[in-house]
């Protein structure tokens, strides 16, 4: 039986292994793990320093960022039209375009393409969308071997883990763990913590996989509507190999990745790697505009593009939340997030961790399943400040908090209102009552001034605040009393 049929109308991650929002429950364990915290702290500090050096010229950064944000906002404003244009141009170039609403559909499309080609051995370039739809799992369940070729992805695939960062998937692992994994899994590889020799071992093992692969699967960084071009960036060359050596290439991408014009690409390229890793540019920028032509000697004979919705069209429906879809997946928001740096990527339990995950996961998966994510933030705004395409992440976090607790028959976000609770409702009802009636307000504030300090810090609701903080002290006189005493009018 096809285990994934049960995904039904569920977008995103297959329901079979859909995580539940339990950030609050998981965070303490991560916080108590000094190795994990040290690994992330060191990595994040390095990434922040390198990024800052790239954008030392504030004026240049401001102008470039405005141009990049406009390219993305423009694409979103005309998304349906541009998707059709992309499809037309790709088709004219010989790229076959497919559309998928759900993870189950996207997986089925990829599998059908592979089956038609008789391909059972697949090599993969890094793709977050394929993590989102659980593609590897689906392929394995249907007799197709899919090997990750990005070194970080390869490592976590050997370990049976999920990525903990969208740019550096195995950032949580140290050398010793990787040495052990390689010694156990790569024939002839002894235990060594030497990074060059570990890298060489991966090259040897994966070269064979590349040579044997009957298909390559990749993601897409930008899809250019004007020319029907898929732009992929990477440092290792595995992305180029996956899209060049096997006879079949399948690119899987979210519908939001389209940009209108080729001249939108250079400013976005000037933003993405510099924001992500502090590099001026990635080693490879790979622009694919079609399959191998009859007189060409290499390149895939077939190229397919799968356009995946997975809840994005619903995000698109709300003019404020739509900005979420500008994201170019640079990871800068997580690198600068004080929460992410302390708990690491796995605590989020969703494919996209950190600030972008906190706004994206609840929208794609539903607030009923990822509803605690928007609350896992101090709202310090570091994410909004560094985002190269000016996504107002902090504002969207606040908006999602409202959606989470606001019951509605037609919620703007899937699962809206699911985080509403009786205690919070009563609290706010009481607040509204007191603040709407001046006499009551005067009475309550005087009572609190006299007796508030007698309330123990451990009473329910207050305890959640005082667990980590001292209880604030009430002043002996209310502000109104002080004002009256100072000779001011009662208003």
């Amino acid at each position: 039986m096809d285990a994934h049929n049960s995904a039904g109308q569920t977008h995103g991650i297959n329901s079979a292994h859909k995580p539940r929002g339990d950030f609050t429950a998981r965070a303490p364990a991560a916080l108590a793990n000094p190795t994990l915290r040290a690994n992330f702290r060191r990595a994040m500090d390095g990434l922040m320093t390198k990024r800052a050096a790239q954008f030392a010229d504030r004026d240049a950064w401001t102008a470039l960022r405005a141009r990049g944000a406009a390219a993305r906002a423009n694409a979103l404003a005309r998304l349906p039209e541009l998707l059709e244009r992309l499809e037309d141009r790709c088709t004219a170039n010989g790229i076959r375009v497919h559309w998928a609403e759900t993870a189950a559909e996207a997986n089925a499309i990829v599998l059908a393409i592979l089956r038609e080609a008789g391909a059972t051995r697949v090599i993969k370039g890094k793709s977050m969308v394929s993590e989102e739809i659980g593609l590897n799992h689906h392929l394995e369940a249907h007799g197709v071997t899919a090997v990750e070729s990005d070194l970080g992805e390869y490592i976590i695939q050997l370990a049976g883990e999920a990525p903990s960062h969208i740019v550096m998937p195995c950032i949580h692992k140290n050398k010793a763990e990787i040495a052990q994994l390689f010694a156990e899994n790569i024939p002839g590889q002894p235990y060594t913590e030497d990074v060059d020799s570990l890298t060489a071992a991966a090259r040897r093992a994966l070269r064979q996989r590349f040579a044997a692969a009957e298909a390559g699967i990749s993601g897409v960084n930008f899809a250019v509507a004007e020319t029907g071009t898929l732009v992929l960036i990477e440092n290792e060359g595995n992305g180029r190999l996956s899209t060049t050596l096997p006879p079949l290439h399948i690119a899987v991408t979210g519908i939001e990745k389209v940009v209108e014009r080729l001249d939108d690409v250079p400013p976005l390229l000037a933003l993405l790697p510099r924001s992500a890793t502090g590099q001026a540019i990635t080693t490879y920028v790979n622009m694919i505009s079609g399959p191998r032509k009859p007189d060409e000697k290499d390149g895939p004979r077939e190229v397919h593009l799968v356009l995946y919705d997975g809840g994005r069209s619903r995000v698109y429906d709300d003019a404020e939340l739509r900005d979420t879809l500008r994201c170019i997946r640079c990871g800068a928001c997580m690198n600068h997030c004080p929460v992410y740096a302390r708990v690491g990527g796995h605590t989020y339990r969703f494919v996209y961790p950190g600030p972008i995950g906190k706004i994206l996961s609840p929208q794609l998966e539903g607030l009923d399943c990822a509803g605690d994510q928007p609350f896992a933030s101090s709202l310090c705004g570091a994410c909004s400040e560094v985002c190269p395409v000016q996504i107002p992440l902090a504002d969207i976090l606040v908006r999602l908090r409202q959606e989470a607790v606001r019951p509605s028959a037609t919620p703007a976000v899937k699962g809206g209102g699911s985080q509403a609770g009786l205690a919070a409702d009563l609290g706010w009802a009481g607040w509204r009552l007191v603040y709407g009636h001046p006499a009551l307000y005067a009475l309550v504030s005087r009572l609190l001034a006299r007796l508030g300090n007698l309330i123990p810090a451990s009473v329910p609701m207050l305890r959640q605040w005082t667990r980590f903080r001292t209880k604030p002290r009430f002043a002996a006189r209310t502000l109104h009393e002080l004002a009256a005493r100072g000779g001011f009018d009662r208003e």
């Binding site: 060191r42 404003a77 559309w99 950032i171 290792e236 540019i281 290499d298 698109y316 709300d318």
Partner: protein, 217 residues
Amino acid sequence: MSDARARILARLRAARPSIPPARPDWAPPAIPPAERLARFTAMLEAVHAEVHAVPAAAWPAHLAPLLAAKGVRTVLAAPATWAGKALAADWPSRPDAPHLVAYDQPVEALKDRLVAGIDAAVTTTLGGIAETGSLVLWPTPDEPRLMSLLPPIHVALVDEAAITDTLAGLVAAANWAAAMPTNALLISGPSKTADIEQTLAYGVHGPKELVVLVLTR
């Protein structure tokens, strides 16, 4: 036309439209022509590439000992390109020159050799980009894509006069949007990874070494 397509587009069209913002004026940084080569070289060297400026007429003679010193015995070349022809004319008479292997058949016929049996490849380029230290390659039927990817050493030939300021400038000036090739590439350094404890390592999948010969006139 699939149902998914119709439904996705219908949902997007049903959403309240937002006004497409104007693209603000943005000019990539200008690099004075006199500084271009220096910037190009510095950026490439910063990412572990080797850059040599050599007289255009004498590059095969410079390259032979350079590769021999690296222990290179076989070099993949594209026989129909000007670079391939220059190598075929110059190297056979040199005792120290590596052996030339022609990429003159479809990849299927050469796969095993290409994947594991060749030490280096020599390709031409369309030019370079000074801002980021990038090589611009548009592979052709004569000079296929995998040349710059499979062998452990990639030698790229860049005409000094073809080094431009920025990608944005190049894409606009050469009107790339009018006719994109099957594959257009920017290459900025050898293959690298920092996936193991943020320690840089080279040659994880693509070439471990990138040798750039800037041809001067």
